[in-house]
Amino acid sequence: MNDDKLMKAAGQLSTEISPERDLWPDIAAEIEKPARRRWTPMLAQAAAVVLLIGASSTVTYMVTSKDGGSGPVIASPDMVFEQASFGNRYSLGPGFQDARNSLVAELDFELQRLSPESQEDIAINLKLIHDAIFDMNNALEEDPENLLLQERLLRTYREELALLRKVSGLTRNIMMRNDI
């Protein structure tokens, strides 16, 4: 058989051949399996965020543990500041912790420069804030993903920080007047 005949004969071979059995049931079983979750860029980003939060939390925990920060911070014999916490799943960033610890450490000294009435007002306000923080932390331990609770707890910590700064600002003004 020469080349031309061979090629012509090859072109006449059947190109469509029916399989001896129906292959669809096996294919259907395979494609109807629950889809495996694909590693999409969005999932990768979410995983990166989770990793970042986890790493940040771990670093925060290590920093606060090293400083002996797991215990309460005592500002004065009358005022005890519990270590700032955020439910049992998250923790507050080191920047916040440092600012708060620094203000709490100075609070006793600062309060002594204020009148007894002012000291009492501040103590009452701080107690209200601490009670609220305590209640919200307990609630967050039960429901760690509750966004409303998280937001309120953050806002309360910000109020505490603002109050502490206000005390510091008040005494700074007094010192300035004394200087004059």
């Binding site: 090629m7 059947s14 294919i27 494609i31």
Partner: protein, 200 residues
């Protein structure tokens, strides 16, 4: 009477043209539905194309069991990649390429598996297709006995009509290599067929 026959033939060809367009339109709709994870639409596409896909798998592997596995794998891969099909080529061409990759992938998997496929090919009765009869059946069996490289090129180029560029692209070889393998295949086939009593 002749005029009547002409008219009838003309009408018939129009009907055929319409139904052919409808088939293409139907396939396009089925593809769109299957792209939205409609398994029933994909089954319809399977029914439309299984003979072509199985055909190329059987011609390339020369073994019924391997061809079934390759065809199944090709359709599973097609389902998984369906959202990437943009219609730049015909759906059947796209499926063919997946089927060829499926065959090549299986053969590349391991040397042991290749040996097993070759052993089965050499010992078992080769391509059994009711479509090929007489001389065609002898040719078909001779093709199945070709070495793998020469067989793949011969099947894609001589049987399925792909150019050397297309064949080379599908098989991951140069067009020149495809030509060389075709030459080898033709020489080996001529020898085999001569031994079986076929003369030019």
């Amino acid at each position: 009477m002749a005029a009547l026959l002409t008219a009838v033939r003309s009408d018939y060809s129009q009907v055929m043209a319409i139904s052919s367009t409808d088939v293409i339109a139907d396939e396009s709709t089925l593809i769109q539905q299957a792209q939205r994870s409609n398994a029933q639409a994909f089954e319809a596409l399977y029914r439309l194309h299984i003979d072509k896909v199985y055909g190329i798998c059987l011609r390339m592997t020369g073994n019924v069991s391997e061809a079934e596995d390759c065809a199944q794998e090709a359709f599973i891969q097609a389902w998984n990649k369906l959202e990437k099909f943009r219609g730049d080529s015909a759906f059947s061409t796209w499926l063919h390429r997946i089927a060829v990759n499926s065959v090549l992938g299986r053969m590349r998997k391991s040397k042991r598996e290749q040996d097993r496929i070759m052993a089965v090919t050499e010992s078992a009765p080769v391509t059994v297709t009711t479509a090929d009869t007489g001389d065609m059946r002898d040719l078909s069996e001779a093709v199945d006995r070709l070495p793998q490289g020469a067989r793949h090129v011969f099947v894609l180029h001589a049987v399925y009509g792909y150019s050397h560029d297309e064949t080379g692209d599908m098989l991951g070889i140069a067009a020149g290599t495809s030509k060389a393998q075709l030459h080898r295949a033709k020489r080996l086939l001529a020898q085999q067929l001569k031994q079986q009593g076929f003369e030019a």
